[in-house]
């Protein structure tokens, strides 16, 4: 992280795109104006397939609701407790293309009491799932580190499933300055 990045407060960064959209100026090329203009063009048959494609492509985005559904598919009706799990992720990342995460579960790994699985979920990527890892008593230590993509500033959630069937979770807020997953080439 550079010094110039530290100069911005997270709050200021989050609001930057909205403030920069230029609502004060009536002629500013806002997204709404672009879409309505493009639709008008399509109506009079002046548009190439490019614009038509652009209008039809709406990248799917995993909302917090779909994250809840994805978590529901894993945990079922079981309650998810806070604690035991520690999700390490940088609070501010410059590029969403590669973000290091570490999930550590404070639980022994013995033959009867062990961490069965670690799942990671996100809110704003096109899909709510990130990774699902199955562990066992032979894994030795309930710790998993990997690199993930993040499409936007959002909350990332890690859930651990223990051998006794209980679920534990931890969440972390991440601010992403350069989003990944759906960028145009």
């Amino acid at each position: 992280m550079t010094d110039s990045c530290r100069a911005y407060s997270p709050i200021a960064l989050r609001h930057l795109p909205h403030d920069a959209a230029g609502y004060a100026s009536p002629r500013a090329p806002t997204r709404r104006r672009f879409i309505s203009d493009a639709a008008a063009l399509a109506g009079v048959g002046l548009v190439s397939t490019d614009v038509a494609c652009l209008l039809s492509i709406k990248p799917a985005v995993a909302t917090p609701e779909s994250m809840r559904r994805a978590i529901g598919q894993v945990v079922g009706e079981a309650p998810v407790h806070k604690g035991k799990v520690k999700l390490d992720i940088p609070p501010l990342v410059e590029s969403g293309n590669s973000v290091s995460i570490t999930v550590t579960v404070e639980n022994p790994m013995t033959a009867t009491d062990y961490v069965k699985a670690i799942h990671v979920f996100n809110e704003q990527n096109p899909l709510p799932n990130v990774v699902s890892a199955r562990l066992g008593p032979r894994t030795g230590r309930a710790r998993l580190a990997t690199r993930i993509r993040l499409a936007d500033s959002q909350t990332v959630t890690a859930i651990a499933e223990l051998a006794d069937g209980s679920f534990w979770s931890d969440s972390a807020q991440v601010i992403v300055t350069l989003p990944a997953c759906t960028e145009r080439l």
Partner: protein, 106 residues
């Protein structure tokens, strides 16, 4: 064959918890990106990564498009006996790669 970088200690004491690092070269195309003419680039990712210690599965990860390019995993295992640790990746378009490392347990 995709390039892999794997880090497993060559020697360990019995009962020690050893850390394993694995990385494989792969683009992990998400299936959500579009090219310059608006065509969606088809998904091409690794979907499964399995690590086995003398044939017994010790770590199995199911990967989604949210895993960064060149999937990298750090996990652990208990050194129980001398033998081979094998790594297996499989994914879209019939992708498959394997690697193995020997370990001596004293």
């Amino acid at each position: 064959m995709a390039r892999t970088i794997i880090n497993v200690p060559a020697k360990a004491r019995r009962g020690d918890i050893i850390e394993i690092k694995s990385l494989i070269q792969h683009e992990m195309e998400t299936g959500f990106r579009v090219d310059n003419v608006g065509q969606v680039l088809p998904r091409d990712i690794i979907t499964d990564f399995i690590c086995r210690y003398n044939g017994e599965e010790i770590f199995h990860a199911e990967l989604f498009p949210a895993i960064a390019a060149n999937p990298f995993f750090v996990f652990s295992t208990t050194a129980t006996e001398s033998g081979t640790i094998t790594f297996e990746w499989s994914g879209d378009n019939g992708f498959s790669a394997t690697a193995s490392r020997d370990i001596t347990v004293e």
